[in-house]
Amino acid sequence: MNPFHYSKPDSVQDAVHLAGPASRFIAGGTNLLDLMKENVTRPEHLIDITGLPLREVSETARGGLMIGALVSNADLAWHPLIEQRYPLLSQAILAGASPQLRNMASTGGNLLQRTRCYYFYDASVPCNKREPGSGCPARDGLNRIHAIFGASAQCVATHPSDMCVALAALEAVVHVQGRGGARSIEFADFHRLPGEAPERDNQLADDELITAIELPAAGFADCSHYLKIRDRASYAFALVSVAAALKVVGPIIREARLVLGGVAHKPWRDKAVESWLTGKAPSRETFTAAADTLLQNAEPLEHNAFKVKLARRAIVRALSDAAQGGQPDE
């Protein structure tokens, strides 16, 4: 770890005024400190934001919830209002990391996790995300865990978060504050695809701090399911994950949300497929057709073509489980 200066501001205002290109905010530190130990990230200044008043979960006038950026992943997953109204989010959080890490990691920090691409993590090899212009060994290398959607010539990394897959499905809004003031960002726009600038994971400016995540009223509590497929039963990143949420009235799907994790540089949502599902009857045939349509556009690499098959089955199962009230049909 490189030496750095440390500050602990008392207010959001002070925090964003301290921030700059060579600084990083730190809350849980579970990813940042690891990246610093590997020399992937070498900030000159850490701004400890754990003293800021961002730990509340409160109800909004619009019937949703406002989640302070410093609420821990464990506290959020087990919050009574999240368990009742947004079980999809609870499930996704509890599918990620370990109990220790969930106790430490913050809501805001979860959004800012960096990819677990082996090449990004190895400071001795090129990586366009770590060192723009140096190359991407993953594209023709060991790319079993990499993207099948939305990758670019420069980067085939995936976003590692489970929580973000659920937040994308729930159409959360990210509230941020910078020196120039506050703004809110639709979840779908928060993370970006790698394109020509894979070093940028999201659209935050250097001085901007996530202050809260807002959930809209619709929680799909009756019909949602988060399915995560990984190399072992617990404590591993997703090869493929699916957040499925349905609103079923009588025999008809009135609204559908379908987001994949582990397959792209950001949670991968296909609104065309969601629209196609709307008005259909929830059946295995419907869900299989939806999965086939979504995966038509997949662009697998040498070692990750299995993700296409895996995603197809996972989509069908997650949608089926969601339609049955979120209980797995084991």
């Binding site: 770890m1 490189n2 030496p3 750095f4 200066h5 440390y6 730190i26 530190g29 579970t30 400190l33 690891d34 610093m36 130990k37 850490l46 400890d48 754990t50 464990a74 087990w78 990391a97 370990s98 109990p99 220790q100 890490l101 106790n103 430490m104 617990s234 404590y235």
Partner: protein, 177 residues
Amino acid sequence: MSATTPDAAQPSFARLPLGLTLNGQERQLEILPWTTLLDLLREQLDLVGTKKGCDHGQCGACTVLLNGKRVNACLTLAVMCDGADLVTVEGLANGEELHPMQRAFIKHDAFQCGYCTPGQICSAVGLANEGRAQTSEQIREGMSGNLCRCGAYNNIRDAIEEALPACMQGVGQGGGQ
């Protein structure tokens, strides 16, 4: 010198004050900003019960109880623990009387080489504090952040399953003598 502690102790980086309650005792310390909680415990305070396994939050050998919650000391900056109540494996017993979780680990032979054991025990006490796990399956899932390379998992689960009810009744907070 630890692998994760930089050797560039440059004069511009002043030591920072750190006050915390460690195993029931108030401590006033001075540390460099990049010192992890794990390195502080092992290298400055000689509390070597907390183990360094992977140093990346993957193995759980460094698990300690920070304000009653289990965390990985290797991914915690010591300076961020100012004002905290910290319990390590050395603080679980009440004098000569072992913590119920420690007794259960001995009874069930829940270790082989023992390297992961302090982390396993602190994690199990944290699991009890959370009050969420009841079934054997929930214990297994709830302990997934602690690896045992000897593979003593079945005995570890048995020990926790036995000690959990007593610990969840409030004797599992960590004694701290």
